[in-house]
């Protein structure tokens, strides 16, 4: 639009006008909700005019920045546009990929996680355990969404299946964690296949909505079928994971759980990585990229979709068992759609199909609100914004999938 884009990023008069307009628009838009606050009981109104100034100023500034970036791109971006996918292998990533840099980096990260419980308080260890559980959940969902391209919005249902498997088995039969873990995983896989079957024929967006429906149905059943699940009051006093029947203090037990979750996360990374670089993994990617060409390559779409659902569900269910053991109390409120959305956010932020990205995103999204109290309040607001922004600015995620090379020439 702008004639002859300038080299320097000087805002033109038009840029400033547009930015101001945007500012005013957002001041108008947010006026009732952000400025006025009524107290219906006392029949009084608080006017928060400061909010309006903030919104106007910030949105104008952001709009101006966006316009400048866009102008800058237009000036120097012709070449880039012709090869859009070059961006996938970012140079910063290549820097860490040589073995001489990768090994010490991994060693340092490994050491940090190993000595973490020695350095920090139980409280911190507990937070880290939770974050690591989301690593497992994120990687599991990554199989379904990232690899196979099936947008599963009811992922939390399988998490619930695992948690309730352990909760109920413990309640009725006194079974321990280690027995419940494989049973939960298997039940998760079973549910994955059961719920996967009906949605096989569905198009991408319908599949998303149906899985959302399934997730909510499972939660509502758990809430209302009191005889089975004890309803909204949930199941309490679930045993923590044992270790050959050794008695443990609460603190030791929490540290033990931390290492257990680390082991689980490592196992997940290992398995998901192997799956990705396999015949099955390639079939998933093919399905995600183009389902018609995928079938034409002799891939059984049904089988490959069910495999993705089943494996994704297995990890969610095992994470669920771990969750029940960690919190010792479960109720349906832990398994809302919002939980699915959080896990989806981890996958989207990290990069669909990227393992390192998902691990990093899980840690960032779970730890940041814990350590930055200011962020905590805005946690869900930020999650929502992250989903939108990632789709628009960087759909391949923060740390995009690494290209696997076979010929050694790169």
């Amino acid at each position: 639009m702008t004639p002859a884009p300038e080299k320097t990023a000087m805002p033109t008069g038009k840029d400033i006008r547009q930015a101001l307009l945007t500012g005013f628009w957002f001041m108008f838009l947010t006026f009732p909700l952000l400025v006025i606050k009524v107290h219906p009981i006392e029949q009084t109104v608080t006017w928060r005019w400061a909010n309006m100034l903030w919104v106007g100023g910030l949105s104008a500034a952001v709009a101006l920045a966006c316009r400048l970036v866009a102008a800058h791109r237009a000036a120097g971006g012709e070449r880039r546009r012709q090869e859009p996918d070059r961006a996938i292998a970012a140079p910063s990533q290549a820097f860490f990929l040589t073995p001489s840099r990768l090994v010490p980096l991994l060693a340092a990260v490994g050491l940090f996680f190993l000595v973490f419980p020695l350095l920090f308080s139980t409280y911190q260890v507990n937070i880290m355990t939770t974050a690591l559980m989301y690593v497992v959940l994120g990687l599991g969902l990554n199989i379904v969404v990232g690899f196979a391209g099936l947008l599963d919005l009811g992922y939390v249902a399988f998490y619930a299946v695992g948690a309730y498997t352990y909760g109920l088995l413990h309640l009725h039969f006194g079974l321990g964690f280690w027995t419940a873990l494989p049973i939960g995983g298997l039940l998760g896989a079973l549910f994955g296949v059961l719920l996967g079957f009906p949605v096989l024929r569905l198009r991408g967006d319908y599949l998303a909505i149906v899985t959302l429906g399934f997730g909510e149905i499972i939660r509502l059943v758990l809430e209302n079928w009191g005889d089975f699940s004890q309803g909204p009051s949930g199941i309490a006093n679930i045993a923590r994971p044992g270790l050959f029947g050794i008695e443990m203090s609460l603190e030791t037990s929490l540290v033990y759980q931390y290492y257990l979750t680390i082991a689980m996360a490592l196992l997940t990374i290992f398995v998901v990585n192997r799956l990705r670089n396999s015949r099955i993994g390639r079939a998933w990617f093919a399905l995600r990229e183009d389902d018609i060409a995928c079938q034409a390559m002799g891939i059984n779409k049904t089988a490959i979709k069910l495999t993705a659902f089943a494996l994704g569900a297995t990890w969610a269910a095992m994470a669920g068992v771990l969750f029940a053991a960690k919190t010792t109390f479960i109720n349906p409120a832990s398994f809302t759609f919002l939980e699915s959305a959080i896990i989806l956010c981890i996958v989207v932020l990290g990069g669909m199909g990227s393992i390192v990205g998902v691990v990093a995103a899980a840690l960032i999204l779970m730890l940041l609100p814990e350590y930055l109290r200011a962020v905590a309040e805005y946690r869900m607001l930020v999650f929502g914004a992250v989903l939108v922004l990632m789709m628009i600015v960087q759909p391949q995620g923060l740390i995009p999938r690494v290209r696997r090379t076979y010929t050694g020439s790169h």
Binding site: E83, P84, D85, R86, I88, V271, R274, L275, S278, R279, I280, G281, R282, A283, F285, A286, E289, D290, I292, A293, C294, Q295, A296, M297, G298, I299, N300, K301, T307, L311, R401, R403, R404, T405, Y406, T407, S409, H410
Partner: protein
């Protein structure tokens, strides 16, 4: 020689519209048959019926692989048809853009390999061997179509002509008996078309049967053993290139009133 593929009375209706109307077709191993006709004549629909993307309203598809019992392909899903030995390319290129060139070809090996989830996770000897073979064969195919250098490039980054060749390599990876090419020369420059010509000829010499939809008449006339002309879903003529060149119905329907020259 006995035909490899026999198509009898193939018919495809969409609602009230008949896109393919009682078409017969025979293909022998090592034979190139071209399918020509104006846009909208039903050529791609015919391809879709042959490869299982559409379920034909009527008709028979019989595949008779040399030395093996013949089988009926009616109503099989696409992946079973590919496994039976029919592989195709697409008119509007359908590669897997965010996979590497090599990975694209490796996907084609799917129906000829067997490792499952267990194999993927535990990597037993058999899986390792299978993976090595998959990579080896796929690289060999890339070598053959001249893309070995770009094996680790994203498929989306290849130039247009190379993408078309890659589609062929990917189809070849399924070890087909019959290769269906949907406008393989579309958008290619003369140099690329010539290379394509050589590739198709060498595939034919390997004993592959090839069914070709193409608008580049020079290429069609040079390559084909047999030409089938379609219009309004019907087969309006067939014969050798020489016969088609002179066929009055073809000249009328397809080439317009002008005589085919050049």
């Amino acid at each position: 020689m006995q035909p490899l593929l026999t198509v009898n009375d193939l018919t495809m209706d969409f609602g009230g519209i008949r896109a393919v109307d009682r078409v017969d077709l025979r293909l022998r191993p090592g034979e190139i048959v071209a399918l020509i006709g104006p846009n909208g004549a039903g050529k791609t629909t015919l391809f879709n019926c042959l490869t299982g993307l559409h379920r034909p309203t009527g008709g028979d598809l019989v595949l008779a692989p040399p030395g093996r019992p013949q089988r009926n392909l009616n109503g099989l899903p696409p992946h079973r048809i590919t496994a039976a030995g029919l592989a195709r390319t697409f008119q509007n290129i359908r590669l897997f853009p965010h996979m590497t060139v090599l990975e694209n070809v490796m996907v084609g090996r799917h129906c000829r390999t067997t490792s499952k989830v267990f194999g993927a996770i535990f990597r037993p000897e058999a899986t390792v061997r299978e993976e090595r073979e998959t990579v080896g064969m796929s690289l060999a195919l890339l070598e053959r179509i001249g893309l070995a250098e770009q094996a680790d490039e994203w498929a989306a980054n290849l130039p247009y002509g190379a993408q078309r060749r890659l589609e062929i390599a990917r189809a070849l990876a399924t070890e087909p008996l019959l290769l269906l090419l949907d406008e393989p020369a579309a958008g290619m420059n003369p140099q690329e078309t010539q290379e394509l010509d050589a590739l198709i000829t060498s595939l034919r010499d390997d004993g592959l049967a090839i069914l070709l939809i193409e608008h580049d008449m020079k290429l069609v006339m040079r390559l084909s053993d047999h030409i089938v002309v379609m219009d309004y879903g019907r087969k309006i003529a067939e014969g050798t290139p020489e016969e088609i060149r002179r066929h009055p119905a073809v000249i009328r329907a397809y080439l317009g009133e002008e005589e085919y020259g050049a």
